[in-house]
Structures are given as structure tokens and as C-alpha cells.
């Protein structure tokens, strides 16, 4: 996707606006500068300083500065919308920096993307109306959109455009991540899926690392909340090893403290 394509992607209702374009350019510019500023061309710089990690709704919180509600597929799968809502609001009530992860899968929600739009909208409104901390501490959704989960790239693009438009109206920093398997799609397809989001690619192998770096060098999307598998075989369970393979910078936002640079740890919960 070209930069113009990204600008278009970020717009609401498919109509690019000057403000949209300016913001997209700024964001892309920042990513590009980050990539160019990397002193060692083959490691995240700035590198991560803190981690976010998942937890199951109703279970104990991880000890990491970022908490990711592992909401899974909803619908007929684990967990229900109400449990995901409660887990998110409860985490925010503790002033925890919180992300709400959903894994869209057609075998969980028979109505497909429209069904997920409805469920995500419900969670969004519940969190915004039940947490005074959402604006400051809720980074929004993390959509786990893997090629093996059954939705086509075009359907995921539709869902992502919807989530972008939904989160655009939120009062604070809330936005959305896309967790994905970057080597599971062609490069341009991967770019079209993650465009406009905060990418949180799974890097569990050399193949995945290469795909993330190709995205950075080709499309300039170089800020990644790199996802590390906490139970992968050594050395792939090491955030230092994994992020050392990735160009660009770690994910960060000023609203969460600019010195807090994140990587994302997946563990079975």
C-alpha cells in the first residue's frame, strides 16, 4: 500500500481529509525517522524497556507494566463479551495500562465481520462509559488477525477500517493494534491489513522477523510492539533476542510515558 493508501485507510467513511492525511504523514514520518535513526541497522532502537503481557478474564494480572486482556474469539468461543468488558474495566480501575485483545475467527461468530463489529462496538461503549481511566490508560483493542484464523485479508481490512473509525471518536489515546503473523501473507497484503494500526507482529522465527523487516524497509512502518512467545523454544522466548532481530523502534506513545517502550509477551493463559 502506498502512503496515499494509508491516508485513505485512516479516513472515516472512506473519505480522506486533510487532517487525516497530515496525521498519517506525521505518523509515517516518525516511523521512518525512527528507522533511519537506528544506529545498529538490525535491532530495535530505541529498544523495549518494559513489557505487556496477556491475562485471562477473571485471572490474576501479570506483573508487567502493560496488561493485555486475552479475550479470544467471543461468540461461541471463549470468552463472552461481558467477561471481556469486565476484565478491561477492572484492569483500568487499578490504573493499569490496558489493552483488550480479540481474535476474530469465523467459527466463533457465525455472522462474521459484522458480528465482530457489533461485539467490538459493545465493548468499546461499555469501557468508555464504565471507566474514568479509559482515556489515559486504555490503548484500545489488539486484533489478533492470523492467516490461520479463517478470515480473508479483505474481510480483515473491512473490520480494521471499522475499528479505526470507532476508535477515532474515543476521547483519549485508545486506538488498535494488529497482532499478526507477518510471514503468513504476501508483503503487500500484510501491509494492507496492518495499515493504520499499531502493528504487534508475532516474531517466533527468522521467517517472521524477515517479514517484519521487509514491511519496515518497503512501507516505512517501523514501530512494532513485537510479540514474543513466552513458551517458545530457546532463544525465541527471549525478548532481547527477538527484538534484536527487528529494525525500527519499539512501540511507545507519549500518553503512556515516552520512556516506556513496549514489547508484547504472549503466554498460555
Amino acid at each position: 500500500m502506498t502512503r496515499a493508501g494509508v491516508v485513505s485507510f485512516l479516513s472515516r467513511h472512506g473519505r480522506p481529509s486533510p487532517v487525516t492525511g497530515m496525521c498519517a504523514a506525521l505518523v509515517l514520518g516518525a516511523w521512518a525517522i525512527t528507522a533511519l535513526a537506528a544506529p545498529a541497522a538490525w535491532a530495535q532502537s530505541p529498544r523495549y524497556t518494559v513489557k505487556m503481557q496477556d491475562f485471562a478474564p477473571g485471572a490474576g494480572y501479570p506483573g508487567t507494566p502493560g496488561k493485555v486482556v486475552e479475550g479470544l474469539g467471543l461468540g461461541s468461543c471463549l470468552y463472552s463479551v461481558s467477561r471481556v468488558e469486565a476484565a478491561t474495566v477492572n484492569s483500568l480501575a487499578n490504573s493499569y495500562r490496558t489493552v483488550t485483545e480479540i481474535s476474530p475467527q469465523p467459527y466463533c461468530v457465525a455472522s462474521g465481520v459484522p458480528g465482530y463489529e457489533s461485539k467490538i462496538r459493545a465493548i468499546y461503549h461499555y469501557v468508555e462509559s464504565h471507566s474514568a481511566h479509559a482515556a489515559a490508560y486504555w490503548a484500545g483493542f489488539m486484533l489478533d488477525e492470523e492467516p490461520g484464523f479463517g478470515f480473508s485479508a479483505s474481510k480483515l481490512g473491512t473490520l480494521n477500517r471499522y475499528v479505526a473509525s470507532l476508535m477515532n471518536a474515543s476521547p483519549g489515546l485508545s486506538w488498535y493494534f494488529t497482532e499478526n503473523q507477518p510471514n503468513g501473507w504476501g508483503l503487500s497484503t500484510y501491509n494492507s491489513i496492518v495499515a493504520g494500526s499499531w502493528p504487534a507482529p508475532q516474531v517466533y522465527s527468522v521467517s517472521m522477523a524477515n517479514a517484519v523487516n521487509a514491511e519496515c524497509s518497503t512501507y516505512g512502518r517501523c514501530m512494532n510492539d513485537v510479540t514474543v512467545d513466552g513458551v517458545a523454544a530457546s532463544p525465541w522466548n527471549s525478548p532481547a533476542h527477538v527484538t534484536g532481530l527487528i529494525t525500527g523502534s519499539s512501540w511507545h506513545v507519549s500518553a503512556w510515558g515516552g520512556a516506556r517502550l513496549f514489547c508484547n509477551i504472549w503466554v498460555p493463559v
Binding site: S11, R12, V19, M22, C23, L26, V27, G29, A30, W31, I33, T34, G60, P62, G63, E70, L72, G73, S76, C77, L78, S80, Q105, P106, Y107, C108, A110, E146, P147, G148, F149, G150, A164, N168, A169, S170, P171, G172, L173, W175, N183, S205, V206, S207, G230, V231, A233, S234, W236, N237, S238, A240, H241, S249, V253, G258, A259, I265, V267, V269
Partner: protein, 210 residues
């Protein structure tokens, strides 16, 4: 994107944070109290390479309080671009530590894959096989690519549907559910020398909404 949202989410170009200190440790990621990760010497280096070559991305852990080591192979190559399959396909392998054998339960004790029992998912060629979650002491929730979502009972080595109601039934009434069709269980040694069966997987339900 609104101007306010743009300001909230954009990174301040030209004011990137200075490179921070090194991460506190270069070791493995933290894991929750309920999970024990296989140590770096769990397999010899040669065996680990062999497993990766046969079964792809490897995850390995034990749930605290349980006596089974669980190894998952995604069935996808770790080095080839794209989702290239591996010769052995995707597997879930389980090693039981009989009688609470403390040596076996030690994540830093080296052992061979031959002591594992291996199962293949309902679609043995569906890749990647992805662990999504753990439910209770012995149920894994796994995505078997387009074949769908399944739960796997580590105790019985059987596959079941992956719906929340099926998981709940497994946890509350174990042994009373109808398992899904899957290939017979084999030893680790057999699995390393066997290619996954081809042909249409019988257990794959039609996928709505795709």
C-alpha cells in the same frame, strides 16, 4: 482521523525518546505462575533442531501442579518465507512424569522426544496449529487453521470441539463428551519418522461467515 486523536496516537517526530538502558535481563520472557517453561537444555541441541525441522515452531511447557510436559509443533517452517509446511506437520506431544518423578518434572533435565506420546490435530495438514489458551488443568484450546478451533484434553490425548460450551463440558464432566476423529496416537520416535496423512480431514466442520 480527528486532530485530537491524531495528537493522542501519533509519535512525536523528531522527539523520539532517547535510547533507554538495556533491558533488565537478556533472559527469557516472564511466564505466569501457572506455567513452567521447558529449559534450554530440555532437549539436546541436535534433538531440538530435529524437532524444529520436523514440526516447525516449537512451544514447550508444563502447567504447575500437573505431571505432563506439553510440546506443540505448529507445522510451519521457521526459516522459509510464508507458511511453508514441515515434513512432520503439526503435532501436540505429551510426556507424562510417572509418579511425580522429580527428575522428569525438572525443566532443565535433558530427555529424548521418544518419551513423548504424539497426536496430530483433526486436520493434520492444516497449518499453523496455534495454541490460543489453556482452560483448567489439562485442556488446551488450539486453532487448526481453517479446520477451526478445537480443544485438546492432555489427560486423554483426545480432541474435542473448541466452543466455550464444549470446553465447559470438558472441565465439568470429563470423559462424557464425544471426541473428534483424529489420527492414532504414536510415540515420539514414530512421529519423527511418519508424515502426516493426506486426504480430506473428516473432522473439519463447514466454516460460516468466512
Amino acid at each position: 482521523m480527528s486532530r485530537a486523536k491524531c495528537g493522542a496516537v501519533q509519535q512525536a517526530a523528531g522527539r523520539l525518546p532517547a535510547p533507554g538502558p538495556l533491558p533488565p535481563a537478556a533472559g527469557p520472557a516472564p511466564v505466569p505462575a501457572g506455567v513452567i517453561r521447558c529449559g534450554p537444555a530440555f532437549f539436546t541441541a541436535a534433538e531440538a533442531r530435529r524437532l524444529t525441522g520436523a514440526f516447525g515452531l516449537i512451544s514447550c511447557f508444563r502447567l504447575t501442579g500437573q505431571d505432563q510436559w506439553i510440546l506443540l509443533g505448529s507445522g510451519t517452517s521457521t526459516s522459509a518465507p510464508g507458511l511453508v509446511g514441515t515434513p512432520g506437520g503439526a503435532v501436540v506431544a505429551v510426556e507424562r512424569c510417572q509418579g511425580g518423578d522429580v527428575t522428569c518434572l525438572n525443566p532443565d533435565v535433558t530427555r529424548g522426544f521418544s518419551s513423548f506420546m504424539v497426536t496430530r490435530p483433526p486436520d493434520p495438514l492444516g497449518r499453523p496449529l496455534e495454541l490460543q489458551a489453556v482452560a483448567g488443568p489439562s485442556v488446551l484450546l488450539l486453532s487448526n487453521a481453517r479446520c477451526g478451533l478445537f480443544s485438546f484434553d492432555v489427560s486423554s490425548l483426545r480432541w474435542y470441539r473448541g466452543t466455550s460450551s464444549a470446553v465447559h463440558a470438558l472441565l465439568t464432566r470429563p470423559g462424557q463428551q464425544q471426541p473428534m476423529a483424529a489420527t492414532p496416537v504414536m510415540t515420539g520416535s514414530q512421529a519423527l519418522g511418519t508424515r502426516p496423512p493426506t486426504g480430506p480431514p473428516a473432522a473439519c466442520p463447514p466454516v460460516p461467515g468466512q
